[in-house]
């Protein structure tokens, strides 16, 4: 059975005012409910524009064939708030998304907006803040936190309103490796618990390598969509659009160039380790 589509873009273009060339050019794609999709592309390829189209922060160019459907709702002026209820975005720079005077206030903001009763709200806030590992900063001022800590708070604010879709717009790029891993595993856990759909806009190719599905954008056009194996076995394409291959694919390529036989079917770290192990024990 085919999985339910939670996001469907049909023939979507967006041209910013005062520019001639569309930033997103006649883009169509589907995202399956409960999947983890990575959208990759160089700076300025249109990734963030797509994010902002999903929740109606930007309105697509007027075209009768264009539609954006989120969780069964066609995005229009009338449905925009229903759509935004379903989509949480964590931006790259958390300073641009803080409103509360304390960590707890900030996390509560989305709940207050939605009219959640105070008693319930306090529990949800506490739980969300604890889950992102910031429990001891409940009453701290966001401005006094480090970049990584701020991002955790931003993520808590999103988790608190339990959206169906969470978009990480370069959200881990400011975190240290441990912070990044802990946030990603937190999002994974939330995803499993609540059947969340995750869209991660990222330059971290190793992060994209762990996605179910990868969408490759170049100058506003989708040039490929598929599994990480399919995408990253095209080193010329990845390089041409200004990205880097995941480490394992680079290593595989270099080993082959060095005359070491690595089967084409090897696409994962464990597989490559296994092949190399055997090569060295046969000698």
């Amino acid at each position: 059975m085919e999985k339910k589509k939670i996001i469907s873009f049909k023939n979507v273009s967006l041209t910013y005012p005062e520019t001639k060339k569309p930033a997103v050019d006649n883009v169509s794609f589907d995202i399956a409910e409960g999947s983890w999709t990575a959208i990759i592309g160089h700076n300025g390829s249109g990734k963030s524009t797509i994010t902002r189209l999903i929740n109606g922060l930007l309105v697509p160019d007027n075209n009768p064939d264009t539609s954006i459907i989120v969780d069964g709702i066609t995005l229009t002026d009338d449905t925009i708030w229903d759509v935004r209820d379903r989509v949480g975005i964590v931006f790259q720079n958390p300073d641009n998304q803080f409103v509360g005077a304390t960590v707890a206030d900030d996390v509560a903001f989305g709940l207050e907006n939605r009219g959640i009763p105070r008693s319930e709200m306090l529990d949800i806030v506490e739980e969300s803040v604890r889950k992102v590992g910031m429990a001891s900063y409940m009453n701290a001022e966001p401005a006094n936190l480090s970049g990584g800590q701020k991002q955790r708070v931003a993520i808590a604010g999103i988790l608190a309103v339990k959206p169906k879709i969470i978009i990480l717009d370069e959200a881990t790029s400011m975190l240290d490796p441990n912070g990044r891993d802990s946030i990603l595993s937190l999002v994974r856990e939330m995803k499993a618990e609540n059947n969340l759909t995750v869209i991660s806009i990222t330059h971290d190719i190793d992060e994209a390598d762990e996605a179910d599905d990868v969408i490759v954008l170049d100058d506003g056009v989708i040039i490929d969509q598929g599994s990480p194996e399919k995408i990253f076995n095209q080193p010329e394409m990845i390089e041409r659009i200004g990205l880097e291959e995941p480490f394992i694919f680079k290593l595989k390529q270099k080993l082959i160039e060095a005359g070491i036989e690595i089967p084409d079917s090897v696409n994962k770290q464990e597989e490559l380790l296994e092949v190399l192990w055997q090569l060295n024990s046969n000698m």
């Binding site: 592309g41 160089h42 700076n43 300025g44 790259q92 720079n93 480090s146 970049g147 990584g148 800590q149 370069e170 790029s173 400011m174 975190l175 240290d176 490796p177 441990n178 912070g179 330059h203 190719i205 200004g242 990205l243 880097e244 480490f247 680079k250 290593l251 270099k254 080993l255 060095a258 070491i260 770290q269 380790l273 190399l276 192990w277 090569l279 060295n280 024990s281 000698m283």
Partner: protein
């Protein structure tokens, strides 16, 4: 002339209930004209330490020798402008500090501020616009019409244009795509090789392995290690104890249990060479 920290302590909000130790008895010496990386976890004191390099923060106790000056808790703010001409700090997301009408004016602001004439400053701006990899045409645009990556370059050009002897950078490549990041790291590496000191705050151990001459590791406000990348990454247990990663190539090598590597490979090329050596035994 080396950079030297002597028993530097820094206390946030001393005497208040919020009192917090930022730096704890830090001493080290850095050679000039090297590429230094500063690593440590969120909250380890990296940013606090960095702000001491040009006295945005002054030590609560201890002293710092830098750029021919000595800074301690009594340092006079009047001397600091001279210090800041020699030592520049580029914070995270420097593009948020752009403000002029055109890109060239924005880049020229730094040199003008430090005493260059209008003409000299604009010449320097044109020169550095190109050196950071932007098209000369971009110079006439408003900085706010540029992409995030271009704005970042403009902001960095504005600092490089007055050629500080010591350039401190806090995660300057965060959020850039891999190509842009590589170009930017190359720019800093070239700047260092041209006879300047570069101090880079980073979480990326591959950058440490690729670029650093010397590494400072901070933990809870203390300096826990000063070493070359080779020394730092030769001790997997120490790294593990301090929750630091090995460069990707080294991580992979450690999992190849039936291979022997003389030194833990720090780059993809070293890893491939090491694997070949094992297989040709």
């Amino acid at each position: 002339m080396a950079i030297e920290f002597k028993h530097v302590n820094y206390i946030y909000s001393p005497g208040s209930p919020l009192e917090k130790k930022g730096l704890d008895d830090i001493s080290f010496k850095l050679e000039e004209n090297k590429f230094i990386t500063l690593v440590g976890h969120t909250g380890s004191g990296k940013s606090t330490l960095m702000q001491h390099f040009n006295a945005l923060l002054k030590p609560t106790s201890g002293e710092i020798d830098i750029a021919g000056m000595t800074i301690d808790s009594h340092s006079n703010n009047r001397q600091l402008k001279e210090l800041r001409r020699h030592v520049s700090i580029v914070f995270q997301f420097p593009e948020s500090q752009l403000f002029e009408n055109t890109v060239l004016d924005d880049i020229a602001f730094g040199p003008k501020n430090f005493g260059y004439s209008e003409k000299e400053a604009l010449d320097l701006a044109e020169e550095w616009l190109i050196k950071v990899g932007l098209d000369p045409e971009v110079g006439k645009k408003s900085p706010f019409d540029l992409s995030g990556g271009q704005m970042r370059r403009v902001a960095i050009a504005g600092v490089l244009a007055y050629q500080p002897d010591i350039l401190c950078l806090d995660e300057p490549a965060a959020g850039l795509d891999p190509n842009a990041k590589k170009q930017m790291m190359q720019l800093f590496s070239d700047y260092q090789k041209a006879g300047h000191t570069v101090i880079l705050v980073t979480h990326n151990m591959n950058d440490v392995a690729d670029y650093a001459d010397d590494v400072l590791v901070l933990e809870q406000g203390k300096l826990v290690k000063q070493a070359t990348p080779r020394e730092l990454f030769s001790d997997p247990q120490w790294l593990k104890d301090h929750y630091l990663d090995m460069p990707t190539a080294g991580q992979f090598a450690m999992q190849l249990k039936n291979y022997k590597f003389g030194e833990n490979p720090l780059s993809l090329d070293e890893l491939v060479a090491g694997i070949r050596k094992n297989l040709k035994r």
